[in-house]
Amino acid sequence: MSDNAAFVPSLIGSSGETLREAFGKALTAAAAKYPSLVVLDADVAGGTGTHHFRRAHPDRFIQFGIAEQNMVAAAAGLALAGKLPVASTFAIFALRAVEQVRQSIAYPHLNVKLAASHPGLDAGPDGASAQALEDLAAFRAIPGMTVVSPADPIEMTKAVTAILDYNGPVYLRTGRSPARRIFDESYVFELGRGRIVRAGGDVTIVACGVEVARALDAADLLARDGIAARVVNMSTIKPIDEALLVACARETGAFVTAEDHNVIGGLGGAVAETLARTIPSPIEFIGVQDVFGESGEPDELAAKYGLAGPSIADAARRAMARKGRR
């Protein structure tokens, strides 16, 4: 096995806390350690969690109004002036500023973080127009970008510190609905490293964000049939943990990827690209199947669009059935 030792998570159920709240509180706590940290908002601080930072550090909070393109390019200017800017909005509006991220932040490789809440079907009842299903793909395709999607509030808290310590552009995906607890306080987040959160040798489920908890549901379902599914929390989507994927290919021989995102270009794409180059393996892709969503609660949407545990378990069986087949 790789040096990612199998990790047994403490599944305490819902933490009651959302990834966005954990993000906002972690940023606020980081203010003292990072004196150049400034937080930028486009009129959604109450939604992204940055209202915590605004309350604690109003002089380091910059409001841009509903103008994401300007906010993102101005973040580049603030970085050039020696600040450490974290710009935050909803994922769907971050997509408005993809070219600003590419041109003004990533091309000069500036130390700017873009944090986006309300991604994917997790955005819920606001419907398809609010559900960003393309952000991981868009930001992953930009040279030099690091893309991170933590799974629970504890990982989010540790990821915030890690990306502030990292010198370069990062896209951080948070979340809207209360998140299930995956990790305990002993968890160590490492940028660029996946983590086995459930041991198993029959198939590997690689997940990120809210789908990690659903992948664990799938592993429970599969266990009833005597199938030992390994679950990997791949919270850094770029650069992806190739060594861990190669080890999983050798040790399990079949994959499912699971993400609250279109199945094109996100985590599934990253895993497939890596395995195609290294150890070609059967892969099934869980995510939104290249369609738009609709209004509904996140769990209802996950069930309808095939992102819930039973769908992941079915995909795992299909992937296993393809082992050794040409």
Binding site: V38, I62, F64, G65, A67, Q69, N70, V72, A73, A74, A75, A76, G77, L78, A79, L80, A81, G82, K83, P85, E99, Q100, Q103, S104, Y107, P108
Partner: protein, 276 residues
Amino acid sequence: MPDLQTRAIDIRRIAVSLIHGAGSGHPGSCLSAADVIAALYFEELRPGIDKFVLSKGHACPALYAALYLRGFFDRAALGSFRVLGGLLQGSPTTTIPGIDATCGSLGQGFSIALGLALGLRQGSDAAIGQPRAYVMLGDGELQEGEVWEAAMAAGHYQLGNLCAIVDYNKMQSDDLNAKTMGLEPLDAKWRAFNWNVQMIDGHNFAEIAAAFANARATTGKPTVIIANTIKGKGVSYMEGVPSWHGSVKLKPEEIRQALADLGVPTDRQPEYAFHV
């Protein structure tokens, strides 16, 4: 010490020569902007304190010429403009000595300058002498929505340490601004966004200097200098002809004529062949 007029002419000579040597570039935009760029780099900007963003990044040959004349890089570097592996990229990048911001996609440099002004501002902007951010925009660039997002924010934050210059040569890639997407009334637009607005002749050094002095003395508001300029200024066949916005290739007889118009006699023109 050569005067600004001499500097500006040298910037024009070098800029058109770079474009000729590279086989492509935007001469009209460089020539209209050259006088303001000369004033910025040989009079206004305080090295190590103030920042300049060329938001109309396609005019970078004029900026590269100014940086060369200020000694940021040597003559050999000029020959790398738009060349594979070269230092001087087709749009400004922070990898180039003296370049304060990477630009090239219109509108974004203005937001970057806004961020610079916010980040450099030290307490109240009533503190005269604090670091300033300067940004030059093209007139066609003002059609980008992001420009007005940034203009609104700069007015809102009363950024007295931000100075924008609009190179108002009335032309853009395809045609006249007025035929493409009209900008007028332009001064009223900026005033409505809470800016201090000055309209000047962008080829008159006394007016340029006075406008910069006015901007420096203005607190509580950003300043925009709307510099009325002539596209292609200084080269007879380019002046007022939109097609020289281009990314155009200058033929041998065209660069000869351009340099002659800019006062370089035929026998001295080889001095301006920077590309090997």
